[in-house]
Symmetry: C2
Subunit: 109 residues, 2 copies
């Protein structure tokens, strides 16, 4: 028996950040490219682009900054705010898992 959980944050009832988006953000941070991140995650470029676009639209300030054309075709950078978001989310998730596992022990007895 294992306790499992998922957490996410909504804005105006729409999904803002969750596991998939955070992982995508981390990959973009690593590669500075939406297409490279999508490839690495075996996700279509379109899907990745849409997720990031929605995040940007829902966020109080941009999570990524995208550049079209130019050196190496362009690229995408995660903003400081985006980096903070990753850190905060992962921290909260870890805390949640720890809490649940502790509680679940006493449930089983």
């Amino acid at each position: 028996m294992e306790i499992k959980s998922r957490i996410w944050i909504e804005e105006k009832g729409k999904p803002f950040i969750g596991f998939g988006r955070i992982n995508l953000l981390k990959e973009v941070e690593k590669t500075s490219s939406i297409s490279a991140a999508a490839r690495a995650m075996h996700m279509s470029y379109k899907k990745a682009w849409q997720l990031l676009d929605q995040m940007n639209k829902l966020a109080p300030e941009p999570v990524v900054i995208k550049n079209v054309g130019g050196k190496s075709g362009g690229g995408t950078q995660v903003t400081d705010y985006g980096v903070l978001l990753i850190q905060k989310f992962e921290e909260l998730n870890t805390q949640c898992i720890t809490f649940l596992e502790e509680e679940f022990k006493s449930w089983q007895s």
Copy 2:
């Protein structure tokens, strides 16, 4: 911005109980019938039956007891173990939500 969560319990890597199954169990408890519960939840009888069947198979002891034929065609009762499961799950879920909301306050500041 709202923090959201889902918890569930797995057995051997397979979903054992989660929101949908708990709600179904509660409805079966109320109606003593899989078909009545399914109707109330706008779920197909087959889906409901399958969910309960899988729960029973994964559980250490039966969650529901089903009777075919007889008075009013038969029926299904939630066992004491099943009732306990509902209570425990809902309690754990409430605790999780409380915990997350508290943590999320300090995140935002």
